[in-house]
Structures are given as structure tokens and as C-alpha cells.
Symmetry: C2
Subunit: 395 residues, 2 copies
């Protein structure tokens, strides 16, 4: 078992009417002037924004609003947010939405007191030393950003765009308000993308060369099974509180690091997908489903018994009499069948609606490895040439 740090300080307030705790939580964590950051119309239409504003006003907490966050949140809006925070003397950031809004808040948090260009943080050129505190009201269970230390931002100021992450413990939300009822109106596509994303957060920690962290493995397997059983229920009945609640909580647990304690993990699928959604602006979850099978078939030789175990313990396959490679393949196929069953694509053609070109693949693989100067992956170490092969397999 690898040495590890586990740090998940976010106070989670979960359940019906949890958003009524907003004002007291903002005060508890020192907020007196709040930037309320959100996406498009859905938080307004649902009445959630009105509730938020009333709560803050009634408690005497002043606030300004900044909407317009889109999936694959943009650097240009982050810059606006930073300027707004400086101009208004903001001391607390409140994200109302899903992972994109939270990630955008995190970027604003890191840029607020930083002297240089905030994008340099995402290029891992340097670190910020001071951050604004963040809280969130989660409306889309998927990214796990409500408890994670990571933020992924798309630079829309460069040709072909660029999607990069920055991870620091200061990005962990002070509080996360989660009311499953707020997710009842999520469209099926977004629900399925979310289920895929949370499963992948677990699987990218699970598939590693390590085989000695039974406590973590058992938790990871339980989360994956739950995502599938409760996921099917929620796809069938979007207003079923219980399965919405189970999925919502699974999304946080999947990415608060408890599914990865003592493992090295392998985040190649996320890296490979980030280039896809960076280039084609597709949904992150769907992109993950489109490439995972190809990544798995390309990388499994590094730890075939683990893929066989996955087939048995997660996909529930009776692998008696199968070789490890047969079991592994059966597990991967079963996972792809699950993705299909919730409407997710399992190849890039279906994902982007056209055949991608060799030039596009070349460009994505190049960006993914910063011009073949870096590798990705932990189970199998992947260079640019490997990534090209995986994109080709997933075409």
C-alpha cells in the first residue's frame, strides 16, 4: 500500500431543504461579501437563485452575481470574475451549479490575490499562495468538484483551445450543500454523463499496478456497483428521491479521494478525454465513455488480474474457467454495455457526430503530451504514439 495523504475537510450538508442552511454556512466560514457564480437559466428558472438571494439578503450578507458559466468553463469568464472580486472587495465565493461552476469559482479563487497570469497556475508554472474561500450549492452530481482539490479550465483565448487542471487543497470547498431534489430536473443526457464521470473518477483510481489496498478497493467496487444499480433507477425515474440521493452522494465520495487511498491510479482516460472536449466541446462524461474501452484494452496487459477482478467484483461476471484476459475482456464489454444502456457513446464517431481526422488525432495527442515531452498514465505509461493508437482504436 502506497503512503498517502487523505484530506477532505468540506462540510457536507445533505438532504431535503439543505439550501436553507446557506446563510449560516456562509457566515460560519467568514463570508461577508459574496460573489454568487452560476451558469445559465436553469438555476433562475428553478427558483434556486431567488432562494439564494433571499437567504443572503435576509441575513444581511451583500453579494454580486456573475452568471454565464458553460460546460468546459472558460478562462475568459474566470478573468472577469477575478476583476469583479477585486473591484467589489469579495471575500467569499459561492458556486450555484455543477462542476463547471465550481471549477470556475476555484480558478477565480486562485487568481484573486495572484500577481501574475492565472493561466500560469493551470500550466503548472507556479503556485498561488492565497485563495478566496469557496462554498457551493450542487445541482449536478458528476464532477465531484464539491469535495475535490481540482479545477479544470478551458483556455478559449488560444487557437484550438487548451484544457488544463490545477490542484491544491485550498480548492476544497468549505461547505457543499446537496439537496437531491435540485437534481430532479436534470435531463437524461446530463444525468448519464454525470454517472459516467463519477464512475470514471473511481475507476481511474482503481486501475493501477497496486494490488494491496483491499480497504480502498472494496470501497471503490461498492461505489461502482451502486452507481450502476442506482443509475439505472434514476434514468427510469428522474424524480425518485432515493436513487437521486444515492447517486448524488456517490459522486462526492467518488472524488473526495477515499476511493484512491494507497493507490497510484491512472488518469490517462481523463487526459485523453480533456483533449476531446477541449477540441469538440463535447460533454466530459460522454467523452470518457467514448474512449475508456480503448484505453482499457490498450493498457490492461500491465495488470490483467486487476481487470479480471473488476469483471467479477464490479460487473458481477462469473469468470470461472476464463483466463485473465478473457475475464478482462468480458468486464470491459460489460462496462461498455452499461454505458450504452444509459445512452452514452462508446466511440468517438458517435460522440462528436463525425469521423475525426488523423490530423485532429495528431493535434490532440500532441497537446495531451505537451508536444511529446510528457507522458500520461500510471498503469501503462503513455507517450504521444500510444495516445494516437488509443484515439484510433476509439474512432
Amino acid at each position: 500500500m502506497k503512503n498517502f495523504n487523505f484530506y477532505a475537510p468540506t462540510q457536507v450538508v445533505f438532504g431535503r431543504d439543505a439550501e436553507n442552511e446557506l446563510a449560516s454556512l456562509v457566515k460560519k466560514y467568514g463570508g461577508t461579501k459574496v460573489l454568487v457564480h452560476y451558469g445559465g437559466q436553469s438555476a433562475i428558472k428553478s427558483g434556486l437563485m431567488a432562494k439564494v438571494e433571499k437567504q443572503l439578503s435576509d441575513a444581511g450578507i451583500s453579494y454580486v452575481k456573475l452568471g454565464g458559466v458553460v460546460p468546459n468553463p472558460r478562462l475568459s469568464l474566470v478573468r472577469k470574475g477575478i476583476e469583479l472580486c477585486k473591484a467589489e472587495g469579495i471575500d467569499f465565493l459561492l458556486a450555484v451549479g455543477g462542476g463547471s461552476v465550481i471549477d470556475s469559482c476555484k480558478a477565480i479563487s486562485s487568481g484573486r490575490f495572484f500577481d501574475g497570469d492565472v493561466w500560469d497556475l493551470y500550466l503548472h508554472k507556479t503556485f498561488a499562495t492565497e485563495y478566496l474561500p469557496i462554498g457551493c450549492i450542487l445541482t449536478i452530481p458528476a464532477a465531484g468538484s464539491e469535495m475535490s482539490n481540482g479545477s479544470v479550465i478551458t483556455n478559449d483565448e488560444v487557437d484550438g483551445w487548451l484544457k488544463k487542471d490545477y490542484c491544491v487543497d485550498e480548492f476544497r470547498c468549505k461547505f457543499a450543500i446537496m439537496n437531491p431534489e435540485l437534481t430532479f430536473t436534470l435531463p437524461a443526457w446530463q444525468t448519464a454523463c454525470g454517472i459516467t464521470d463519477m464512475m470514471m473518477h473511481t475507476m481511474e483510481r482503481y486501475f493501477s499496478k497496486d494490488d494491496d489496498m483491499e480497504t480502498t478497493d472494496a470501497i471503490a467496487e461498492s461505489i461502482l456497483r451502486t452507481c450502476m444499480t442506482e443509475g439505472h433507477k434514476v434514468m427510469e425515474n428522474p424524480t425518485d428521491y432515493i436513487s437521486r440521493a444515492n447517486i448524488m452522494w456517490a459522486g462526492s465520495v467518488a472524488h473526495n479521494d477515499i476511493t484512491g487511498c494507497g493507490t497510484t491510479g491512472d488518469w490517462a482516460t481523463h487526459n485523453i478525454e480533456h483533449e476531446l472536449s477541449g477540441m469538440f466541446d463535447v460533454s466530459h462524461g460522454a467523452g470518457l465513455a467514448a474512449v475508456w474501452g480503448s484505453w482499457a484494452r490498450y493498457s490492461r496487459e500491465e495488470n490483467m488480474p486487476r481487470f479480471a477482478r473488476f469483471a467479477r467484483n464490479v460487473m458481477g461476471i462469473d469468470t470461472t474457467g476464463m483466463s485473465d484476459i478473457e475475464a478482462a475482456e468480458a468486464g470491459i464489454q460489460a462496462m461498455e454495455r452499461f454505458f450504452s444502456s444509459i445512452g452514452m457513446p462508446t466511440n468517438i464517431h458517435t460522440l462528436v457526430g463525425k469521423e475525426i481526422s488523423d490530423a485532429e488525432i495528431e493535434e490532440m495527442a500532441d497537446k495531451c503530451t505537451t508536444g511529446d515531452t510528457q507522458t500520461i498514465g500510471g498503469l501503462k505509461i503513455l507517450k504521444k504514439a500510444d495516445i494516437i493508437k488509443i484515439y484510433q482504436m476509439a474512432k
Copy 2:
């Protein structure tokens, strides 16, 4: 699924040589003058205390020491610790040991700035508003106190003694250093008591009337299975790093509340046991094993399908063709066989080495319910008369 709060802010530093992070962690969390609290000779003999002192000295952090914590930690030593903190201007508490040392630190933390009698906090008469921060180096995986909000103290100043708990979020450790190698020398008895205690922390959250928190149930079941498989390994080979590490981490996860999100739980077994260890000064884990089966048989009628599920998903019993009550009984018996297999008693006679008297049972049941004025339990609500029956069944 019940509404819940989840808050587990402790920074866990886990693995080989983790104790080398001590000085930087104390500094990070503001410690400049530390009370190092510990138990008996084992931390001195193992060289851990010397390492601790050298680390603190080298970093220029001053400290005083207070040893002598015993299992079922005593109020009288807590009082000494509070006086020492006041006299020495202590601003940080470091527990070096297991749950008893951490619980004693927590009590000192709560009493340091409290004007009244610290025991009144444990009698739930009032709350403290200011606390000293606590960090720990864990040497006994069992109580889960390194991530929990609870502290249990035995009042040795009254006739027959009294064991009570006090739970506040301020009791959550700032950091927990966990090096599985520090547990290699734990005797088999203490190892087994620890495994039992962590399993019971999971089971007391698991057995409830609720059946709608699949995410939590699946995590709880995975922890219980891991405790049994890794527990057998560690009993056979006490210096096996991997199983020691899995057990150590399972002990924290079992009690950081993640196994209880959305459930009501039932802590009757802990309450019933506290009276046993309060009166006979027996090991807490062993006491739990001695009474759990009787509690389960007495209470299961309130949710028989859950006990049947436990038999299938935790104990791995094929319950095909069994009624729920047959499956429940098979699961309880299997659990008792596991306790026996690691050397734990499954009745009170074996636990205390004599037959306990009706008068002793009467006294324990009376204390447990504060003179029949309070009830315990969540699955089945138990009055004094019920508790007497359970003690009789467990005799």
C-alpha cells in the same frame, strides 16, 4: 435517506515513516507549546516517544509530557492534564497512542477553557465553546477516535465508576499520523479487540430501520468484509505491513461517519458495553463481542430483512430458501464464529471470568438508562427492562 451532515476535516498522513511529518504538522496547525499525552511504557520502549521528542526539539517546539493514560481513560488524569495546560500555557495537544489517549486529550481540550466542571460536559449538562487543537500519532487501530467527534471518559471519582461520552466537531483531530509499522508489536488480544471495535462502529450505523441508503450500505458492507479478511491475515502474521495497513485505515473509515451517511443507526451495543467496561474494566472491543449477538437477537425483529441482507452481503451466506429470520440467525451465528476465530468472547461469563450477578445486571441497566429515565437504541428502542433481558441473554 435521512438528511445528514458529513464533516471529516482531519488531515490523515498515512504510511511508512509518517511520524517524520510530526513537527511540520504541529506547526501547520499552530502548535508552539505542546502537551504530549501518552499511555504506559510501550511508546517509550518502542522508541516512538524519543522520536517525537527529538522531532519537536529539533523544530524548536517546546513541550511537556503527561503519561499514564489507561484503557477506559480516567477523569482524574484528565483533570491533571487540564491543570498542566493552564500552568504551562499549552496551545496544542498531541496524543501518542490509541483511542484512550486521544479521548483523554479530547477531554483535556474541552476542559482547558471551560469555567465549570469538565465532567458536566460528559453528563451533557452544557457545552464548551473553546477548545485546544489536537493532533495524534495513532498506535492502536480500533476506536477510530483519530477522525471521530467523540470522546468517552470513565469517572473514577464516583462509586462503581461511570463511563460517559461527549461529542463535538471540535474534537476532530487536526491531523492523524498513521504508520502501520507502529502497530506490528500490538498483542493479539488488543489487535482482535480493535478489529471488533471498528466492525461494531460500522455495524451500529448499519443496523437501522432505514433501507434506502445503498451508497452508504455498500461502503459499510465493504469495510466489514475487509475487516474480516484482513483481520484473519493480521492475526496470523502480525508484522504483515499490508494487512496491518488495511486494518488501520479501515478503523478510521469505520468511524469518520462515512459508513453512516443517511442512516439513523443504533448505538445500543456500545451503550450496553460501556457499562460492562465501566464496572469490570474489561477491554471495550471484547465487551462488544460479548453482547452483540444477544443485542442482535433481541432487536432484529424491527428489521429482519436487513439482518438477512447482512448474512448475504457481509457474511457471504447463501440464504436461498431461508426465511428472513433463518437468514438473520445464520448471519448472527457467522458473526459470532468470526469473533471466536480471532479470540473474542461471545458471552459475558467468558469476558469477565465469572458469572455476573442479577444485582450487577440491575446496576448496569440502571446506569445505562440513567435510572430508567432514558432509552437507548435506534432500531429497537430499549428501556431498562429490555437491557436487563439482553444482559441476561448474554450472561
